[in-house]
């Protein structure tokens, strides 16, 4: 059984060799033009879920992909708690630590419906801020603790303060504009503080719109990353025990084992997409010549993991719009100053 040379591809590849990376062909220094980009660029959506999205960008230069990644991380805005007015805090967690924790709680309010606050010290209004309150007191739980339990959950009421205890206070016309379910913490079960009887919190929280460049709490994503699409090819059949060893050299799912009729086990490439590009196969002298692992230099797998305020596809379109508006604003300024 002969296999075609895996490197006889039209497109240039990056080859993972034992101690270095090599290229099958020098990446053509083509003159990148908008026209050629429009022709060659392709997007394929692989996965689009509530909070996570994966898609392929094919025929694109790394500079654009990286610009999109950077924009998503630090330029796409969300709402976050920025100010905490503390009327009373008798719990053991310090005011500033508690305020910091509250700032990091992700909120689900849609940032596109709000304005940036022009001046941080200005009075907040219905268009640029959301207000919340957190009023909670820990007490003994006398009637419910009939089991004579010594667990804190049975002995006390409100001994744990969770994000669900944050109450939204609509300002101005916000009551008509938003539903109760549209604002507030994304997750109800974020532990904010621990208390004991007599401890009390009385806080007012103000959330504003901001972007990740100012503070990571404003970043709309847990992470966003891209990688080159890997490809694994076998140059000769690998059988028996060597096949199992080959399988264990790669991420799960990359190499499959086929059981032939005569009882032989033969390795085949099942799905190279989720390979982590480890070079484990090179540790085995008998199989290192049987595989060629490559990457496709203009095929990017782009993954967006949203925190939950915006859907990942919305985050991506927002990022591009921000870049476009940036360019437009600069152009206008250039035109006006000559």
């Amino acid at each position: 059984m002969t296999m075609e040379s895996p490197l006889a591809e039209q497109k240039p590849r990056i080859v993972l060799q034992e101690y270095k990376l090599a290229q099958t062909a020098p990446i053509a220094k083509d003159h990148f033009t908008v026209k050629s980009f429009k022709k060659s660029f392709k997007i394929v959506i692989i996965r689009n879920e509530q909070n996570e999205m994966e898609f392929d960008m094919i025929g694109i230069h790394p500079f654009l992909v990286n610009a999109f990644r950077r924009l998503i991380l630090s330029d796409v805005p969300t709402m976050s708690i920025e100010k905490v007015y503390i009327s009373n805090n008798t719990s053991v967690i310090q005011d500033e630590v508690l305020a910091h924790r509250l700032g990091l709680v992700p909120l689900k309010a849609d940032p596109r419906l709000f304005d940036y606050k022009e001046d941080a010290s200005a009075e907040s209004n219905e268009n640029d801020s959301l207000e919340f309150e957190l009023k909670i007191k820990c007490t003994y739980n006398k009637e419910a603790n009939k089991k004579d339990s010594s667990r804190a959950e049975d002995m006390y009421k409100n001994n744990n303060v969770y994000s669900r205890h944050i109450k939204w206070l609509p300002v101005g016309n916000q009551k008509e504009r938003f539903k109760e379910s549209e604002v507030g913490p994304i997750d109800d079960n974020i532990l904010l503080a621990k208390m004991r009887p007599g401890h009390e919190l009385d806080l007012k929280l103000v959330a504003v719109k901001g972007c990740g460049r100012d503070h990571a709490k404003f970043s709309p994503v847990a992470t966003v990353f891209y990688r080159l699409l890997p490809d694994v090819k076998l140059t000769r059949p690998v059988e028996g025990e060597a096949a199992l060893r080959l399988q264990s050299c790669f991420s799960p799912g990359v190499i499959g084992i086929r059981h032939e009729k005569d009882g032989k086990r033969v390795a085949y490439v099942d799905n190279a997409r989720y390979d982590t590009c480890s070079r484990n196969a090179f540790r085995h002298d008998d199989i290192k010549d049987a595989v060629v692992a490559t990457k496709i230099p203009d095929h990017f797998v782009f993954t967006i993991e949203s925190v939950g305020a915006l859907r990942p596809d919305v985050i991506f379109t927002e990022a591009i719009t921000i870049l476009k508006n940036k360019c437009a604003a600069l152009l206008e300024e250039l035109e006006s100053t000559g």
Binding site: H31, L331, T337
Partner: protein, 100 residues
């Protein structure tokens, strides 16, 4: 908001219409690198590079030297092309999103 202006009459050398350093306020690697890659592909451009001189200052210096034509025209064309790239990406993404 953003403001960009030309740095003129400095030690950068013979600044004339063909070679200029532009200073972008409140911009960084995100725009700098993208714009640099677009502009350095133009056949008329001899050199294009950017630097963020100090991480604590939100400024980006952008240098263009051309064989022919004004540096400022190359910058304008670069910004226009980058906008078009955004439009194409947005278009293809939305199209793909609608059909998936």
């Amino acid at each position: 908001m953003n403001c960009c202006f030309k740095l003129s009459g400095t030690e950068v050398g013979k600044d004339n219409d063909k070679s200029k350093t532009f200073v972008f306020q409140d911009e960084g690697h995100t725009l700098g690198n993208a714009l640099r890659c677009v502009i350095s592909n133009y056949p008329d451009v001899q050199f294009c590079g950017y630097t963020v001189p100090h991480p604590a200052e939100s400024k980006m210096h952008f240098r263009i030297q051309t064989y022919n034509g004004k540096a400022i025209e190359a910058l304008k064309k670069g910004l226009e092309d980058l906008m078009q790239l955004c439009d194409i990406t947005l278009d293809k993404f939305n199209h793909e999103l609608a059909s998936s």
